[in-house]
């Protein structure tokens, strides 16, 4: 079912102000379809130079010497910088968002392949590329650690010599030099007791491979230091420009008022563009040293090899249940491979992100989560890729383990979910791992999907196919997300609370400029924020301009990731608009010579109750705000709101997938993918559907083909688009979308955020479908990626590809 044209989703011509709920066409599109976008590599400044990186061919090695002479002798080369050049500025290491430090340029040692060793600055990218070949680096190879399971062995090579003996980690005591943290949630003793006495227990190991978001635009920046005014401007592909400004100021010592960060148009982010990368820091240093603007833009191989990867979680899920399949306890254990530096972009207090949402949509009486993070000789990162801070991993482990439980008990996977759902009347619901899920209606969503897809009919068809020896699988997932980080009482990044902000100004003639602390990367903020304001103020959204991304003009905000723009920035927008409407009401009362209480709001105007014709439109009020106000009121009509959300929001959904697997080739055909999402109040159904399509496709990519493996020497395999799977038009399945609406009770307009749900929810759905195709043969789990080769190997193991007759 394609709901884009449903009666509930007003086409834009039916809504004169184009407010909330309207499928408004996007305001961003005009520039993009005409080649007038302004991405970071499009920015050119007078005298601008180009930076390129010398990178390590080894995963673990000591740097014995670096010889720059030949590179410096090449005409057009202006500088070659190494860690030794950054040391006097104390910029050779930088703090990460996770309480660790990271080498900006390798200091005596390299810790992963492609690590930044030196930067060359030249007239253009061709000369820079020539020059990096001329920088001579002598290495002494060291033993390499790639297997996270061996990281804390007694004889494991020690990676971080800078941390030896420092056993007080950022999040916990460290028990080994390669240990980063231990983090736990829930009640271990109570959980263990339930497991000891349970009628039924299941346990499943699973690996969530290292993958990479790989937006089509790689990361880059243009740094420009104005020596005369001691002012630094950096154009940067950043999902969090304000946080970058704070970090840059802290690192460089330049007052924050003299640092301007601009996120121009961003060619996709997906969590990859949250952190601060060495390339940004060295470009800034080079611009300060050389006194001219410096541009740095990665190529695809650098991007896949060094910037924020995702996942790399080795997980074990265990459920204790009664013989009817009712969950009595959940136990989850994780070994987290964070690479060589802990650079996860998580809220500071949560080193495993929001992994403790892993009790899912279910009424779990008691639970325990244990996570150990370790260093390996791989690139840093870990929290990225439409993941809502590790909710991808959390949903994967609970949904997979639920299927395993269902299989063990011989209960259908829809039925076992029905039996365990948190019921609609139980909300707000306190989870065993500490969250308060504000709202939900899981049964309705599940039944709607089962009916739409004729689940019983699919099961009958599967039975017939199995009798003929064909492989058909049905995947089912009922996920709960946690997004909108978050309440400042428990969410901060580098000590800055994770509020967000909006500033709205109504001009005398009634049009509006509004700025937010978030930053769009394709989500369509210019379109949807205007719709929120339109509905609150009765001003047509076409007369409302939205600006984001320039720290000199926008209010401070934490940025766009973790599906937080609508839950936090959208809330700030609605609240700021309501402040304006409250002032407008006072002005209207003054103009109509009545008391405020005598007025009622109607779409775009205040009316005197019971007196037809006595009314003032928002436009009339805006004009009056600048010249005819109640006595003592300050002129103007604008408001700012910094919104600290009282809770997260909890979008949910039911996804169903049907696959047919060719038993001779292992090739999977996704016959059907049906996604029902509940993101609360729907601001723009067209954009929601687009976000869901995209998230599903990225989920398909992860489940069916993506991985960044390493060989024993720590060489990264699959770091080009020749090897790294990005689905084309041909592989991509057809998506079917559906929805229910359960508004968030605490969000000003009831919205919950949506863009990450389809990624979080679809990945275990694909695995569920693939495993289901083999479940009658005893298969309980298969690790991703479910590519044809790996499935063919499984088919061979099961002996299914023998031709008969």
């Amino acid at each position: 079912m394609d709901n884009a044209n449903d009666a509930n989703n007003a086409p834009e011509q039916d809504d004169p102000i184009k407010g909330v709920g309207c499928a408004r066409k996007r305001k961003e599109d005009a520039r993009f379809i005409q080649g007038k976008g302004n991405y970071v590599d499009d920015i050119k400044m007078p005298g601008m130079l180009f930076a390129d990186m010398v990178r390590s061919p080894y995963a673990h090695a000591r740097i014995k010497s670096i010889n720059k002479e030949k590179a410096l002798a090449l005409p057009g080369v202006h500088a070659v910088l190494t860690a030794d050049d950054l040391k006097p500025l104390n910029l050779h290491w930088m703090p990460t968002l996770a309480g660790d430090v990271q080498a900006v340029l390798a200091d005596e040692k390299v810790h992963f392949q492609y690590q930044e060793v030196a930067v060359v600055v030249a007239d253009n990218r061709y000369i820079a590329a020539d020059a990096i070949e001329l920088v001579e680096v002598e290495y002494e190879e060291l033993p390499v650690l790639v297997d996270a399971h061996k990281a804390m062995d007694d004889d494991a090579p020690i990676l971080r010599e800078d941390l030896v003996g420092k056993m007080d980690g950022a999040h916990s005591k460290r028990v080994h030099d390669n240990h980063i943290f231990n983090w736990q949630a829930g009640d271990k003793d109570a959980t263990d007791r339930v497991f000891e006495q349970a009628e039924v227990t299941v346990k499943q190991d699973m690996y969530y491979p290292r993958v990479h978001p790989s937006p089509l635009e790689t990361c880059g920046c243009v740094a420009s230091f104005d020596k005369v005014n001691e002012h630094l401007t950096v154009y940067i592909t950043s999902q969090a420009p304000h946080v970058v400004r704070t970090v840059v100021s802290m690192l460089s010592g330049i007052p924050e008022s003299k640092v301007r960060i601009v996120s121009p148009d961003i060619g996709g982010g997906f969590g990859n563009k949250v952190g601060v990368y060495p390339g940004y820091v060295v470009s800034i240093v080079a611009s300060i040293v050389l006194g001219v603007p410096v541009k740095w833009v990665e190529n695809r191989m650098e991007h896949l090899s060094t910037t924020a990867f995702a996942r790399d979680y080795h997980m074990t899920g265990e459920i204790a249940a009664d013989s009817d399949g009712r969950i009595k306890a959940l136990r989850v254990n994780v070994l987290a491979d964070h690479g060589a530096f802990d650079a996860c972009a998580d809220p500071s207090k949560f080193p495993a992100g929001l992994m403790h949402i892993c009790t899912g949509s279910y009424d779990v009486p008691v639970a325990h989560l244990n996570v150990d993070g370790v260093y390996t000789n791989k690139a840093p990162g870990g929290v990225a890729y439409r993941c809502s801070f590790r909710v991808t991993e959390a949903v994967y482990v609970i949904e997979r383990t639920m299927d395993v439980l269902a299989q063990k008990l011989g209960i259908d996977k829809a039925e076992i979910r029905r039996r365990n759902f948190i019921k609609a009347e139980q909300f707000p619901y306190q989870t065993a791992l500490g969250w308060e899920i504000d709202s939900g209606d899981y049964h309705t969503a599940l039944e709607k999907v089962l009916e739409a897809c004729d689940y019983e009919g699919l099961r009958r068809e599967q039975q017939e196919k199995r009798e003929k020896g064909e492989l058909m699988g049905i995947g089912l997932v009922t996920f709960t997300e946690i997004v909108g980080a978050g309440p400042t009482r428990n969410c901060d990044i580098l000590g800055v609370g994770m509020f967000d902000s909006a500033e709205i100004r109504v001009h005398p003639t009634g049009s509006v400029i509004a700025r937010m602390g978030t930053i769009t990367q394709g989500q369509g903020h210019q379109t949807t924020y205007a719709q929120i304001i339109a509905s609150e103020l009765g001003i047509p959204s076409d007369e409302i301009s939205i600006e984001e991304g320039d720290t000199d003009t926008a209010p401070y905000g934490l940025g766009t990731y973790g599906s937080r723009s609508t839950p936090v920035g959208g809330a700030a927008t609605a609240v700021a608009a309501r402040k304006i409407r409250a002032k407008a009401q006072k002005i209207a009362a003054h103009l109509l010579e009545v008391s405020e209480q005598d007025l009622e709001w109607d779409v775009d105007r205040f009316k005197v109750k019971g007196v037809p014709g006595q009314e003032k439109t928002m436009k009339e009020i805006a004009w009056a705000a600048y010249n005819d106000r109640p006595e003592g009121m300050e002129p103007g009509l604008e408001a700012v709101d910094y919104y600290d959300p009282p809770n997260f929001t909890y979008p949910f959904g039911t996804y169903l997938c049907v696959v047919d697997i060719d038993k001779y080739t292992g090739v999977t055909k996704v016959r059907r993918f049906y996604a029902l999402d509940d993101c609360g109040t729907r601001i723009n159904p067209m954009i929601i559907e687009g976000q869901i399509h995209g998230g599903l496709n990225e989920g398909f990519a992860v489940a069916m083909g993506q991985e960044l493996p390493f060989d024993e020497q720590g060489n990264i395999l699959g770091n080009t688009l020749m090897d790294y799977f990005i689905p084309t038009f041909v592989e991509t399945p057809k998506w079917e979308t559906d929805y229910t609406v359960t508004p968030s009770p605490h969000h000003p307009i009831g919205a919950k955020g949506v863009a990450e749900s389809p990624h979080v929810g679809s990945i275990p759905t694909f695995t569920s479908a693939i495993v289901d195709a083999f479940s009658h043969l005893g298969t309980t789990h298969l690790d991703m990626p479910h590519n044809a080769f790996r499935l063919w190997q499984h088919i061979r193991e099961l002996g299914l590809d023998k031709r008969t007759g």
């Binding site: 790989s214 089509l216 996709g268 695809r300 687009g690 998230g695 038009f729 041909v730």
Partner: protein
């Protein structure tokens, strides 16, 4: 490095450039002629965000040398609209929400333009194969397919 003097038609207008023999066409267009609608995403011909039209064929300008365009006809996204307004493929992408971050969009449009010249009435399957040299991370392709179908209808009516 000795430079070559090249000239070609870009979006219907003659242009000239002095280029190193190794210079890629995409860099000439973006850096030299300063039309930045054509993007760079992978440098290995896989992502397709650098797609332009060269002598009536879609090419990936990150793996075409500028000297190969000498004397040729090049069309980029900046050349799609005319004095009469936007091209049908441009309008259809807006109408069908066929773009999000916009980074793949210019090349996607240039490819759709050429594809519909070659196959004015394509099936969905033909669109999927015909457009498969251009990657998109945001849209899941479904709305792009709708946009190409809708543009095909409009172009046939015109």
């Amino acid at each position: 490095m000795a430079k070559h003097h090249i000239s070609f038609n870009l979006n219907g207008k003659p242009v000239e450039a002095l280029v190193e023999p190794r210079e890629l066409l995409v860099h000439t267009i973006r850096e030299n002629i300063q039309l930045t609608g054509t993007h760079i995403g992978c440098e290995t011909s896989h992502c397709g965000v650098c797609t332009v039209d060269l002598n009536g064929k879609s090419v990936k300008s990150c793996t075409v040398l500028a000297v190969q365009a000498d004397g040729g006809d090049v069309l980029t996204v900046e050349g799609l609209a005319t004095a009469e307004g936007l091209h049908a493929v441009q309008q259809a992408f807006v109408e069908e929400h066929g773009l999000q971050c916009g980074f793949c969009t210019p090349a996607m449009l240039v490819r759709a333009y050429r594809f519909l010249q070659d196959n004015p009435d394509p099936s969905e399957d033909e669109i999927r194969w015909g457009m498969s040299g251009n990657l998109c991370r945001c849209t899941g392709y479904q709305n792009i397919i709708k946009a190409v179908q809708s543009a095909a209808k409009k172009l046939q009516q015109a």
